[in-house]
Symmetry: C2
Subunit: 448 residues, 2 copies
């Protein structure tokens, strides 16, 4: 590995016109064009690593600009130099004396960090000839710990506590790995009930999902209470009393409003309300959790939780009952490891956020590692699944009987098809050129 | 005003090579090149508005990219259309269905929002022929309230409560305005004790400051405890027992470390410890506040507090004893109004962050308004002052006897000298061209 110097980094703005069909629509994001900032790094011996971060269309060019600003930290580095002091490398990217001002560790710059580091982890896993989850599972606990920046979280989790968790996780690890290879990791689906879908489409999609083994369903809520009641009733009727229902407001409410609104939906027995309010409102989530606990409804959040310091506080304040890590919002695998270990210490289940473009492909690796080496439990745990855009990936997720089957190809499942990248580049790719031609102009949101 | 349509927006990357002299150096930002993303908007009748956000050099180009992404919301709008529904306009900028994903309301995109809205406020004040503070002071309380987005803060401050505070603030307002015009708003200085300054320079600057009426001094700490002890002792000896000393760690510590370290500096009787840990760590600041209260040391933070939701929680959790608003980190005047009103309700004094490039020029307007119309108190209140780079502004701050004298020129004091902007544009301005010429190459950090 020692000869492997990273000599090139390129980044592309890849957008899919999903708003045309209302895929991905929710109470706050009514017309997303699912997109990625797509990073490719290349070594002097011809190995490539692929990384991405997910976006909703407009603004992806800003993330590209941030990736370019970070590229100087990567180009010229040897892979072994990075992974032998991954904590130090992580700190370089996230704590540059000038650049941290425009973060720190949040928003655009953290999304860019995720894209770049996801590419580095992909490169590392490929160089070892393993899928990322397997690289993590086989890694010495001390080495794993050396990838984590513990700054600002030692009051909740010390390095020694983290190591102890990982050492304990070594027990029974082989059996759990075999179990995963055989049965996969349980999933739930969000594909049936986007906010913009009419009832008929909801019913049809739900029927199809039930027939292929899905038992856990998430419904988008928060725009109109009467609509929510009707849609939740419809889904609950279709999935029956034993099916699992989750609801997701995508930050639509203030604290008081969240409690009132969700109380009105309690009769449909949702397992959780997801993102009831601002992702920054730790104390607000704590208040909502407390108010909804008597109704048996938990609070889930995390897809817009921007770093480990925020997750630390959500856990300290008992502000969430389900931790939704995201493979592209946090600072890549490094920061996700910190969150998995904190969640384990606080005994809160991790149920990853997925969907978008590539989020399922990436996050499956992390949750497999969580089960095999950290939590060792499937209680109240499942990984989100959305059936969009997988066809653009070289190693798309494999779902069998509503379970994620562990990927076998080396890497982090981040590589996209060259053809897909080329066609969807914004604005010059042919998909966008066609949409912007006069005949198609009338379509909403097809261009930013 | 109705004819005033905004027809143009331009943005420039303006950087000053302050790292050459260690100005602005602290425990986390060792070599800042003080910079701005500088926005100019122009109306069809030739009026201009100037806005900026402060940065530390590298990454300013990312903020520019974000400003360009926001420009579509501004160009083509009439000024009266904006100010007649400023809350709605604010929401458009901060909650675009696609773009909010890369924030929301934090980091790069919020800094860009600040730059753009600061220009709009400057334009508004100029169109009324008033300095911004006076525009605010004269404004009907209901109109002021209509500029604020209360989303996510109604559990701490309702619209009615905010209005009541402003109505109460009308009493005695004229006298307080006269008092400010005569005596100015009290200031403290950070210019004497940057971390990179040797002791001899500290002494000399402190002597000069004392001779011109300064009595309140801030010292940068956090890199080395023995150095901190020596420097604090030196400053305390020079300013005497009645002088006010503040210390600032710029986020250097974890929670436990912050308590231990500051306890060692308690003998020098600092009024506050500023930014002891991560700006995102509300519960951490609360723990530090609690531990230091018996020592009579308060906690101050805010310059990297990214939005009103974070300030709300800092107040709810009694996590800070001094609220340090920033004119460019939050979403311009609109979001700062929300924070001033929340601070008033929670009875915590506001002591603004300033310095950088233009921060003193801008924030003086906000703190004048706070005194005249909101807090009506000077107890434990003062505004930061740093004596750098004012010469690049058309209406630089006027300090008299360690007080900010209210600006009289129309606008938000945001306009820079054309010559300064031209010479410091990065990388093409002549200042940077010279620094990058072979003869100067050896200098550290002169180019990003």
């Amino acid at each position: 590995m020692s000869k492997t110097e990273i000599v090139r980094l390129s980044v592309s703005d890849v957008r899919f016109p999903t708003s045309l069909e209302q895929h991905g629509s929710d109470a706050m994001h009514t017309d997303p064009d699912y997109s990625v900032a797509y990073v490719v790094i290349e070594t002097d011996d011809g190995l490539k690593g692929y990384g991405l971060t997910f976006t909703l269309g407009k603004g992806t060019e800003i993330v590209l600009c941030a990736v370019e600003a970070l590229s100087g930290f990567v180009i010229g580095k040897h892979l072994d130099e990075i992974v032998n002091d991954f904590r130090g490398f992580y700190r370089q990217l996230t704590s540059d004396g000038q650049m941290r001002w425009i973060g720190p560790e949040k928003g655009v710059i953290q999304l860019a960090t995720a894209a770049v580091l996801n590419a580095v982890w992909d490169l590392w896993a490929r160089s070892e000839g393993k899928p990322l989850w397997k690289l993590l599972v086989d890694m010495d606990p001390k080495k794993l710990i050396s990838c984590i920046d513990f700054r600002y979280i030692t009051d909740a989790l010390t390095e020694q506590e983290a190591l102890d968790i990982l050492l304990k996780g070594q027990e029974g690890k082989r059996q759990r790995e075999e179990q995963m290879l055989e049965k996969g990791y349980p999933a739930y689906t969000t594909s049936c009930a986007w906010l913009g879908y009419p009832d008929q489409q909801l019913k049809q999609l739900c029927t199809e999902a039930l027939s292929t083994g899905w038992t856990r369903f998430k419904v988008k809520v928060g725009a109109d209470l009467q609509d929510d009641i009707r849609r939740c009733r419809l889904i609950r009727q279709m999935i029956g009393p034993s099916g699992t229902l989750m609801i997701d407001a995508n930050q639509r409410w203030d604290v008081g409003e969240a409690v009132t609104w969700v109380t009105r939906l309690a009769e449909f027995r949702p397992l959780w309300i997801e993102e009831p309010t601002s992702p920054d409102d730790i104390l607000g989530h704590a208040a909502i959790s407390k108010a909804l606990a008597p109704l048996g409804i938990g609070v889930a959040t995390g897809e817009q939780c921007h770093n480990r310091v925020m997750f630390k506080q959500l856990l300290q304040a008992s502000a969430l009952q389900f931790v939704q890590i995201d493979s592209c919002r946090l600072g890549s695998v490094n920061e996700n490891l910190a969150v998995l270990l904190m969640a384990c210490k606080f005994q809160v289940p991790v149920c990853p956020h997925a969907g978008g473009v590539g989020l399922c492909e990436l996050v499956q690796h992390l949750i497999l590692f969580d089960y095999i080496c950290v939590s060792a439990s499937l209680d109240n745990r499942m990984c989100e699944y959305v059936d969009h855009l997988h066809e653009h990936f070289k190693s798309p997720v494999i779902i069998r009987d509503a379970h994620y089957m562990p990927p076998k190809d080396p890497g982090y499942s981040t590589e996209m098809l060259e053809e897909s990248v080329r066609r969807h580049q914004y604005p010059q790719g042919e998909v966008w050129q066609e949409l912007q031609s006069p005949a198609k102009r009338a379509r909403p949101s097809a261009h930013s």
